[in-house]
């Protein structure tokens, strides 16, 4: 097992280099460049000042030299400095965005699992019942409604009309003057709506997945055997059927690892949340190459790591795979 993990980890290195090379080339093929935002259609920018800015950012070098420099820095885990005027370190920019994005994603993912698994199991067990039909309609409604639209409606209701919840942002203006508990409450108050909405939109996938897994398992012979043994229905469902139905969920969990740090641009824009989605979007729009590369590399690494974790977790949970 350990050898297997070690081999897989080693394999990720060439994969990461390959992914970064492709990203790097794609990024440079896109029209425009980092200096465009300040100099395009700017009467004060001359050919000379453009050349100077290009040299300043090292963009006058051949592409392979630029990539080589980047790779060399990456080898020491140095993400470089952002091309945006503040010139801050990319690592620092990413680091300050991670907590909020991670919090929202973990909470909403927890919410999804907490709600979707019971709903899926119950719908499968009582297939065709009123509950099954209502929950199906409900989760698909959540899936189909554009989140930004629902978000605006919720803001109008809870923020403007009722005044119960803050509309946007992640903290009140007097946040700094609050105590530790007050800060936590303030943050929770601000995150309630975004987390609920993010969760609502994600319910459909998970609950339908759980329902179909469960339906498949419940038809198996060993479940019939368990019932024939005279086990109570609860034991049959939870001990025998659900355990097996949960196996594929591990794969989903593993594949969600990169999503934990990926924020949704639309969502963050609507709620004015300074998260990873906005950071990446702004990076792309201003062609902030080091920032784009930094976020893509982290994303690629997490994806590979998630795949590995899923495989390992699966092997641990399912003896058939472990032996194979």
């Amino acid at each position: 097992m350990l050898r297997y993990i070690a081999r897989r980890l080693l394999l990720t290195v060439p994969l990461l280099v390959g992914i970064s090379l492709v990203s790097f080339l794609m990024m440079h093929m896109a029209p425009g460049g980092p200096i465009g935002a300040g100099t395009d259609l700017n009467p004060k920018a001359t050919a000379e000042s453009r050349a100077r800015l290009k040299a300043y950012y090292g963009l006058d070098r051949p592409l392979h030299v630029q990539y080589g420099k980047w790779l060399g820095r990456m080898a020491t885990l140095d993400f470089g400095d952002s091309f945006s005027p503040d010139g801050r370190a990319v690592a620092e920019k990413i680091k300050e965005r991670i907590p909020i994005t991670l919090t929202i994603n973990v909470l909403s993912m927890g919410l999804i699992f907490l709600v979707a698994i019971p709903v899926g199991v119950y719908s499968a067990v009582r297939k065709g019942s009123l509950f099954d039909r209502i929950s199906t309609v409900a989760v698909f409604t959540g899936f189909a409604i554009p989140t930004f639209w629902l978000a605006l409606l919720m803001m109008i209701l809870f923020g403007v009309k009722l005044g119960w919840l803050p509309i946007s942002g992640i903290s009140s203006l007097d946040h700094e003057s609050l105590g530790a508990l007050g800060k936590l409450a303030d943050r929770a108050h601000h995150l309630l709506l975004p987390v609920l909405l993010a969760g609502f939109g994600g319910l459909a996938g998970m609950s339908r997945y759980m329902r179909s897994n469960m339906l498949e398992v419940i038809r198996q012979d060993y479940v019939a055997t368990a019932r024939a043994k005279g086990l109570p229905e609860g034991t049959v469902v939870f001990r025998h059927a659900m355990r097996n139905a949960l196996l594929p969920v591990i794969t989903i969990l593993g594949l969600s690892v990169p999503d934990l740090l990926g924020g949704s641009v639309i969502f963050e824009t609507i709620f004015a949340i300074p998260g990873m989605g906005q950071l990446f979007y702004q990076g792309v729009m201003s062609r902030d190459y080091p920032l784009i590369m930094g976020i893509l590399t982290i994303g690629a690494f997490l994806t590979l790591l998630g795949n590995l974790l899923a495989d390992v977790g699966y092997a641990l949970a399912d003896p058939r795979i472990r032996q194979g």
Binding site: T39, N42, A47, S49, L53, L152, L173, P274
Partner: protein
Amino acid sequence: MRESPRRAVLPSIALFLLLASCGGGKPESAGKETAVSDVPAHGDAIVEGSIGDVSGFLTAVTTDASSHEAAGYVFNGLVRYDKNLKLEGDLAESWEVSPDGKRITFHLRKGVKWHDGAPFTSDDVMFTYRRMIDPRTPTAYGEDFKQVQRAAAPDPHTFVVEYARPFAPALASWGMHVLPKHLLSTYPDISKSPLNKKPVGTGPYRFVEWKTGEKVVFDVSPDYFEGKPYIARVISRVIPDQATMFLELKSGGVDIMALTPPQYVRQTETAEFKKSFNKYKYTASGYTYLGFRLSHPFFRDKRVRQAIAHAADKKALIDGVLLGLGQEATGPYKPGTWAFNPGVRKYPHDPGRAKALLAEAGWKEKDGVLVKDGQPFEFTVLTNAGNDARAKTAAILQQNLAEVGIRMKIRTVEWAAFINEFIDKRKFDAVILGWNITPDPDQFDIWHSSKTGPKELNHVGFANPEVDRLLDEGRSTFDLEKRKNAYFRIQEILAEEQPYVFLYVPEALPVVHHRFRGIVPAPAGITYNFVKWYVPAALQKHRVQP
């Protein structure tokens, strides 16, 4: 303050905003409801909604409007634009231009202190100038300063610059924020200095904190040289979505923002809203145009361009795109400013006249489409994606032109691709774009025939010897009357030639919570006298501990 042309020339609008953002003006009380005692009082905070985050505080190296607006609270230039968009002294008390127009002498204010207590002197101005021309400074604004032949600081309160030729726009370039030498001299690259994140300036407010992506906070500077501003704290919140920002405004989370025309006309007319907010309206500094590639065989003929100007229904454009909140553009200057010529040839909506002009140019109608030499009159107009106003403008123009037998196709392209692949390579038939109108009327870069190279701004390829001469004349004298004559004549020629069909100038639509008093709209907008805004003691909402 507006979304549409902001992308077009960020720096110029940004520079304009920074110059106009804080200024003099008389303390007048202009509150609508004067039930409470309307006396200026210190205190309270104002919360601004901002679409974008700050990217740095040193305006020499930033180019976006949000950064320039924020920096305007902390820094000053030597000069700035007053409420009528005329230059006035800022850190310079006054200035003289030598009779030959080549030398400008600035007399600096005495007793001004940086926020850390160090005195402001001509050394700081000299330092700023040197950094603007330093190749290690990543600035897009170095050009104006490179024109300086000699700069001198003969005493702590005098700064002298000499140019090779008289250059009128040079004066406005000294609106560039002056940097503190004592804090920056050890940083060869000012963009990497801590000051770019935690600025120390001479302005009405001092920097308190910047939470990236969330907010920037400034507190009043008690010893500001124009007197202590009334509002004690300024909080600029980043809210990237217009609709969210509007909800924040209604629920009290934001005090001041720019409205969109639909918000202004349809969503803010309730009695309840009017009780809590004051809406303002003034002519924005920008215009939208339809520009032709003049080397295109269809558009080479002046009569064709004039015909399209007659075919375009500007009234319908203003009603449809701006809900009536704008005015017809007749040239590249802002109506009501000194350079604006109100007497140029106009092109009222007249499809009949348009058809006649096109027939004169040899276009004959066949099955509803104009044809010449076997070629149908068909072209594509390009505009940048994500600009709703321009997309609507294109759709209305398409209909207008169909009425006279011209088939116009519309294509929208992402901004960077639009500029790099189409505009810069001159691969377009026609474009819908906008320019910001800078307070100085020099538009050499847009209209001079020498400015048609790649990346240069005369992308339509306009070439007119008289305009070339007048552009030179206008920028090489400080005599306002001479300049005015030159720019008036340029507008006449542009109106006759129609290299662009000038479409409309929108209105800027700011809204401010009603507790703020002392707001006096002027051609420069409303924020020019921000330091004189106040909240009567009884209405103050936030308690600000200094």
